[in-house]
């Protein structure tokens, strides 16, 4: 049985717990302690869409565990430009590498790749679909910097298109979190996803006002409103900058509030907030390394 990592829906709460605990063991390695756990193993990174932090944190995780990384290079110089389909690419790369990290613009690409691959596929984002490694590092950040039990969290920003919040909201439902969705009307979370959450037993509320929630939550999870999602620039202008986290807003915050953001940010979080005790988004990006180490180990170490 290959350990593909495709969607959060494939994981039970217990399995998530195992991954998060494993990540904790890898934290010293992520900070530079030597490890040869994956020495002799090769990871292939296939990114059909641009990515910096996801790709670099996978490479970092692999190299710090003593493994090697090969990549596709630029799409323009690869066989994809000659019209090779993903299924063939996966079958070929699977002959070279021990595991494949895939980011692809189409929803379902990673699931399909797993059907053709003889090595584990790790989904690093499929279109507007899933991004499970981001979700796992988000959960890990909450576990390390706050608490996953009795959690009250607000998801803020683009809840319609943002793939990270869909996966995260689902995972939070496994922890019976109290979730408040904060978004402008145009960017509300799709009904289908909300229905799934309620089915899992999550408490879900919606509001358009961030002032309503800031004093009640343990975690503010802020996302970027992506300009490229709006066909009409005027529509974007209407919602751009509606939620801006400032020191002023945080005066009402609970003492132990943490602020998270998958990054990159544009202007959703005032840089002055970086210096407050609430900011955790840079720690969050660091936690991507031990979490991805845990996943790589799960995928490739001899069991």
């Amino acid at each position: 049985m290959l350990h593909h990592i495709i969607s959060m829906k494939d994981f039970s709460r217990d399995e998530i717990g195992i991954i998060l605990n494993r990540a904790k063991e890898f934290e010293p390695v992520a900070r530079g302690k030597r490890s040869n756990l994956l020495s002799g193993k090769i990871l292939a990174t296939l990114f059909y869409e641009p990515s910096t932090r996801t790709r670099l944190s996978f490479e970092t995780a692999m190299k710090r565990l003593g493994g090697e990384v090969i990549d596709l290079g630029s799409i323009e110089s690869s066989s994809i430009v000659k019209g090779e389909n993903l299924a063939d690419t996966i079958r070929v790369i699977g002959n070279y590498a021990d595991s494949i990290v895939l980011r692809h613009p189409r929803e379902g690409a990673a699931r399909m790749a797993s059907e053709f691959s003889k090595v584990p596929i790790i989904n690093a984002g499929d279109g507007a679909g899933h991004h499970p490694t981001q979700t796992l590092l988000d959960l890990y950040t909450i576990m390390r910097e706050s608490s996953l039990s009795g959690l009250r969290i607000a998801l803020v920003g683009d809840l319609k298109y943002g793939r990270t919040v869909h996966s995260l909201a689902y995972a939070l439902s496994l922890y019976h979190a109290d979730v408040t969705l904060v978004s402008p009307a145009q960017l509300k979370m799709p009904e289908v996803i909300k229905k799934d959450l309620k089915k899992q037993g999550a408490v879900v509320r919606e509001t358009a006002s961030i002032e309503d929630v800031v004093e009640d939550v343990d975690v503010l999870y802020v996302t970027r409103i992506q300009k490229e999602r709006f066909p009409d620039p005027a529509e974007y202008q209407k919602v751009a900058g509606v939620y801006r986290i400032t020191e002023e807003l945080l005066k009402k915050a609970r003492d132990n509030l943490i602020i998270m953001h998958p990054l990159p940010r544009v202007d959703e979080i005032d840089p002055a907030v970086d210096r407050t005790k609430f900011a955790r988004y840079f720690e969050q990006s660091f936690y991507g390394v031990p979490v991805r180490m845990a996943l790589l180990a799960m995928a490739m170490e001899a069991v």
Binding site: S7, K9, N85, L86, A87, H104, P105, R106, E107, G108, A109, R111, M112, E115, D126, G127, A128, G129, H130, V192
Partner: protein
């Protein structure tokens, strides 16, 4: 009963699809591949009063028994339909259509950006929720709950 006999004559061999959701008869014909140019003998009754479901459509196809996949497709647009297999004017088998748990190669995913709608060598696959009828694409998680007939392959 007599009135119904007058509407649609009994058939000697073939299949009677009864209790079709009113309005879906033409979609059933489409599923069966019956068009103006096919030679099959087909009778269609639409909006026939029916005690159980108000009104219904009926399709009779002579000299043909349905494939399992065709029945699966019919179950999607007419979940209450019954299939009667007729030989020598006798109903030799009668059963109600049943939605399968999985649909393979029957419905096209409604998400244009789904990997199953590309030149990749994959067949569409859906997990079926029966009440209410909802199809969830195993690739992209997109859910089809309305206008299923429009997405039949």
């Amino acid at each position: 009963m007599i009135e119904k006999e007058m509407r649609v004559r009994r058939i000697e061999h073939g299949t009677v699809i009864d209790h079709i959701t009113a309005g879906q008869a033409l979609n059933v014909l489409r599923i069966l591949g019956v068009s103006g140019t096919t030679s099959a003998v087909v009778s269609v009754a639409m909006n026939v009063p029916s005690g159980a479901i108000g009104s219904k459509d009926i399709v009779k196809v002579e000299n043909r028994e349905l494939e399992e996949e065709e029945v699966d497709r019919i179950s999607l647009i007419a979940p209450n339909a019954t299939i009667n297999i007729i030989r020598d004017f006798e109903v030799i088998e009668k059963y109600r259509v049943d939605l399968p748990e999985k649909l393979v190669g029957v419905v096209k995913c409604a998400n244009p950006n789904c990997i199953s709608n590309t030149n990749e060598p994959v067949i569409s696959r859906f997990i079926v929720n029966k009440k209410p009828v909802e199809l969830r694409c195993i690739y992209c998680d997109h859910v089809i709950c309305e206008g299923i007939a429009e997405h039949l392959i």
